[in-house]
């Protein structure tokens, strides 16, 4: 893999920030650090792209800086989704790509599990419109200021159940094949 692929770092020991910073020298972290001066940003090693953690309060400000700065020009929002980490909240993930510079970055925002509210990114990219609607209906995140917060894939009235959360159970298979023929369950079904 080219672009800024790097050797994955060792396990995430809590090394001092200084030592962390210099392990990123061949990625785009120095320029991102410059562009996002006002935001306290924490870099992290990704398998393919650099991951940047941004606090919830000024995520849209950071995204706009990444997009409009002429040094990076992340003008293409590749994908926007969320990852449910159960106890330590839900991560909203933005994959950005700069067409002129041909570089990638992943911006991550961690939301506490009980208060999943985040400012909408549709003001920065129109692409975020449907992606946020889908993430909202799947994870229960409320994107404030979204132009049209209806459900995207789910039926209109399904606004209380969020399927992609880890808490949402898998549908139990009602009838194992055996039962269909009158053979009761448990005699050697799967473990």
């Amino acid at each position: 893999m080219t672009t800024d692929g790097t050797t994955p770092a060792g396990d995430e020991s809590e090394a001092s920030v200084a030592e962390l910073v210099d392990t990123f020298e061949n990625t785009i972290w120095p320029s991102i650090d410059r562009v996002l001066a006002g935001v306290d940003v924490r870099p992290e090693r990704g398998v393919l792209d650099l991951i940047v953690h941004v606090p919830r309060a000024d995520v849209v400000r950071a995204l706009r800086m990444l997009k409009q700065g002429d040094e990076l020009q992340f003008n293409y929002l590749r994908s926007l989704t969320a990852v449910d980490n159960e106890a330590d909240g839900v991560d909203v993930v933005y994959h950005l790509y700069s067409i002129p510079k041909n570089i990638n970055v992943t911006v991550k925002v961690t939301l506490p599990a009980d208060d999943k509210v985040l400012e909408t990114a549709t003001t920065v990219w129109q692409a975020a419109n449907w992606l946020e609607r889908e993430t909202a209906e799947m994870f229960g995140i409320r994107f404030t200021g979204h132009p049209d917060p209806r459900t995207l894939l789910m039926p209109e009235d399904m606004t209380d159940v969020f399927p992609l959360l880890k808490s949402h159970p898998f549908a139990e298979i009602e009838l194992l094949q055996g039962e269909l023929l009158g053979h009761e369950r448990g005699a050697g079904g799967d473990e």
Binding site: I173, L176, Q177, G178, L180, L181, H183, A187, G188, G189, D190, E191
Partner: protein
């Protein structure tokens, strides 16, 4: 008009090329040997019993959980005077063809080469009126292999 004339010329050229379709139910296309219709169990002709020992390997590996397997001791085992070396044999085996997604994983995980994908037209042309008729039990699964209609193909 030049472009329209060109389009007319193309359709006339295919008019002359003649039909490429075939009359399906009366003429069948010859299926490649690797064709995957639905999984079936194989019959061990010389010991006259199924290869399957009911070890649940395929049942665990199936993504859609469309298989249910029951195992029993093999009555025809050598210890009971039979000729077979298999101590365990399959007792009951159901595959719900309505749920199976034909991904061939059961054939890959089976270490007795007891299950294979049906590559005959009979495997494809199977229509039933009730969804529960799609649940195939042991005799139905072994019928084709018992009648030696199957030249199964298993990846080496």
């Amino acid at each position: 008009m030049k472009g329209i004339m060109k389009s007319l010329a193309v359709t006339m050229s295919t008019f002359i090329r003649g039909p490429v379709t075939r009359n399906y139910p009366t003429e069948h296309r010859e299926l490649p040997e690797r064709d995957r219709a639905f999984p079936i169990l194989l019959w061990d002709q010389d010991i006259d019993e199924p290869f399957c020992t009911g070890c649940h390997a395929c049942e665990r590996a199936c993504p859609v959980e469309c298989m249910t397997v029951l195992m029993k001791d093999n009555p025809a085992h050598e210890s009971q005077g039979g000729t077979s070396k298999r101590r365990k044999i399959v007792d009951e085996f159901w595959i719900d063809y309505g749920r199976c997604m034909r991904c061939n994983i059961c054939v890959e995980v089976c270490n007795f080469e007891a299950i294979a994908m049906n590559n005959t037209w009979q495997g494809h042309e199977m229509s039933v009126y009730d969804r529960s008729d799609l649940v195939m039990d042991l005799p139905q699964l072994m019928s084709q292999s018992k009648a030696e209609e199957i030249q199964e193909w298993v990846a080496d």
